[in-house]
Amino acid sequence: MAFKVTRRKFLQTASIAAASVPLSKVATAKAGVAKSPFTAPGSFADTKIAVGGICEMCFWRCQLVGKVRDNKLVKLEGNPKSIDNGQAICARGNAGIKLLYDPDRLKYPMKNVGERGNPTWKRISWKEALDECGEKLNATVKAHSAKGIAMFPHGASAKYPMQYFEHTVGTPNVSEASFFQCRGIRDYAWLNTIGTGPGENVDMANAKVIFGLGCHFGENVHVSHTKRYLKGLENGAKLVIVDPRFSAAAAKADIWVKIKPGTDTVFMLGMMSYMVANGKYNKDFVEAHGIGFDEFKDAIKEWTPEKASKECEVPVAQIKEVADLLAANAPNVSVHPGRFFSWHGNDFQRGRSLACMAGILGAFGVPGGFVKGKGPGGFGKVGWPKGHEHHEALHRQMGIYKQSPSGTPTDLIRDCAIASKPYPIKSCVVWGQNPMQTIPQQHLTIKMLKQMDFVMCVDVMPTDITLYADILLPEASYLERFDYIKKGTQWDFSDTHQQFVSARMPLVKADFERKDQVYIVNELAKRMGHEKAIPVQTIEEMVDTQLKPAGLSIAKLIAEDGIHLQPGKDPYGVNEDFEVQFYNEELEDQGYPGAPTYIAVPEVPKGYMRLLAGRSPLHTFNRTQNNVWLNAGMPENPVWVNDKVAGKLGLKSGDKVTMVNSEGVKSSSNSHALVTPGIREDCVFMAHGFGSKSAGMTVGKGAGMDDQELCSIRAVDPETGCNGMRNNFVKLVKA
């Protein structure tokens, strides 16, 4: 484009004012710059401390303060008043600032005017976006009833919308990755053994032995949890780590059990049968609190250390050595329940075996054992009421997965949607979850999404799943909103007993047009005919409603520097009626084994290795992949491969590699090999969450390899319907 007049000449002609419509008349938007008092050159804005931050770079949720200069967050630190994480936060916590100001973050509501999977985005107003969401969801409900909607929620902000869709709208097709692809199996295994979910409530700081089965302490950094673990080691606790890989925890262990993947339950049964047969268990505790111990004893006796050894490839002597160590230090043993638990499709039994091991050691309510802190109580609840529609979940209709909680196992929703059997599922709401990387068999997830009439996503980042959205809504991040109430006790039970209460508060206001979950869901509810059911008008009201019965409020917490402290209670001891269900008749009645039972996993096909995945200290799966600081610290996920295997393949550390699985699925990206004797020959390991495909994640795209892409063999836990993700087999290929 050529300008044939000079700028000076143009400006001298005064022709602008003479134009048919003056320039000033069409420049009508509200000014973003205005006069303000002069600031003397050289002045700096004060740094203020914003309190009430609660981290969500991972789900441990440490307490934060933010240093804020001129409404800009410049530094995150642990809240000095915290008796949980204290002043410490991890690398991911520090890097929260780079999430806050990530240029790839979602900024405005957008509509996809292209196709799902290959979107063309158009910024639209919140009103347009919400109107369309309401209209499309209403259309689905009208045509197919509420069960025509599927929802995939994750994170603190997803609780309010999840309850809306599940309770008030009335769809049972809600599936949380944190349950069905993570810890749900563990929770229900322990619930069926001791009547409560375990969390990670083991008093490691005061243990004589810490026993971790596949626990990646130090690779999964949850600050107060890690403090307990390290304090225990400082105090002289012995550490036993069972893992096919020489993990960070194994490197600190007194005993590393290099187990064959998938046979963990056998190892546990081998130890327990040996301990029971030789009277090396806590007889007093078992007598006082054990249920079905004789049946349990009878059921596991076949698994002598010798028989177990053949299956799990752990030497008999080592099985006995670990069992003796645990027995000698009972009851002050931390039998860690684990966290990411969905491994092989036989995991409920593994969870049961861990809980039963804690039972035969009597490791409940004692220093070092399983101890739930006695935190503050008396909080209010904010909930969506039950609506008119109620539909039985698919697994209930089918009479399967009887240990699955409310919600529906993910595979069943996906299969139902794809086949439209037993009914169509035509709208999908994704809230803070990236099902592309949480659910195995990605091609089926894509198929499910493509057959939908409508897909809406709410997120902070343009993750892989957002490529399939019709409407994409930008959510305020954890640093920009109120919501989660965090409460608990001091992390070390040997310290003075204290309780704390804190509520997430924004450290800075939300930029652009990002909104919190209460605003978004309430506006949807208004459009879906549920205005009268709205429980709170604002997110601040939600938090204050929860705090009020405890005599607290947002204002009071701010006045107390973000954390309310009060005297605590001694957490030790167990009630007289506390029970350990060594043999659970209810499970037996449901058609499951009453005692922990080993279910064999598929063997590794010749020429392949089992694909294992886990954590890294610098990333929380996929959600931190686009963070420039964390990417700089760990730009990809190295593939751990045994040195002998690598030698045969001609691989050395640092070589670029990719993978193909036994079903012929090839990884779409690559990483580098980490050649080590510290892993068995029959498996490879890499951290989960890498290898994003969305190019909107300009930092994370193609960084490392995505293990989920290679999970094409379905393994489902028969009790809970949760996915097992370690039954896939791969070959390494030089990239």
Partner: protein, 188 residues
């Protein structure tokens, strides 16, 4: 205030408006008529610009899609975030944003919305106001804080924009902010 300063103030106010997200309330026939008139006064040949005379719904959507892709969130990725910090510091709301805000304040202005101070529209608005106050300061801002990033941004947008409208607006901004010496050479 000189006539020239008044002219520049109006020009930058118009350009600031033109860099906002196009919406039907203002991105209408009147606006396009002014733009065409403006181009005519600059003696730009009509056949050199790909710009319709009317705002049809399709044209509006095309510009909205292009704006979103270039400046907000795009697939496969956002092309040219319109923030100085992105080109000087490599990230959003970084040092350049702080320095820019400081410049505003030291000259008696500040931002009033939650947009970052180094956003293209905000900087053009500041220039519009500053040309009324002190033309030398406005030129200082262009020299020190605007051009160092705009030149890179301009090249990316001109290479990637799919709609004539966005290309025209960027070329107009370039025309009115170009250093005098470069400008004279370009026109010559």
């Amino acid at each position: 205030m000189s006539q020239e300063s008044e002219q520049l103030s109006q020009v930058f106010n118009f350009l600031a408006q033109a860099t906002r997200y196009p919406q039907a309330e203002w991105f209408n026939a009147d606006f396009l008529a002014v733009l065409h008139s403006f181009l005519a006064q600059l003696e730009v040949e009509a056949d050199e610009v790909d710009l319709p005379l009317e705002v049809t719904p399709q044209f509006l959507e095309d510009v909205q899609v292009d704006y979103t892709r270039l400046f907000i969130n795009g697939h496969p990725k956002v092309i040219a975030p319109p923030y100085g910090s992105m080109y000087i510091d490599g990230s959003l709301n970084d040092t350049t944003a702080d320095v820019t805000r400081k410049f505003y304040r030291e000259h008696g202005f500040d931002t009033t919305t939650n947009e970052f101070p180094d956003h293209l529209t905000t900087e053009l608005e500041f220039l519009s106001l500053q040309f009324k106050e002190d033309e030398a300061v406005a030129h200082e801002f262009i020299e020190k804080l605007f051009l160092p990033w705009f030149v890179t941004f301009r090249d990316i947008v001109l290479a990637e924009a799919k709609t004539g409208y966005i290309q025209v607006v960027i070329e107009l901004i370039d025309f009115f902010t170009k250093k005098e010496i470069e400008f004279d050479q370009a026109v010559a």
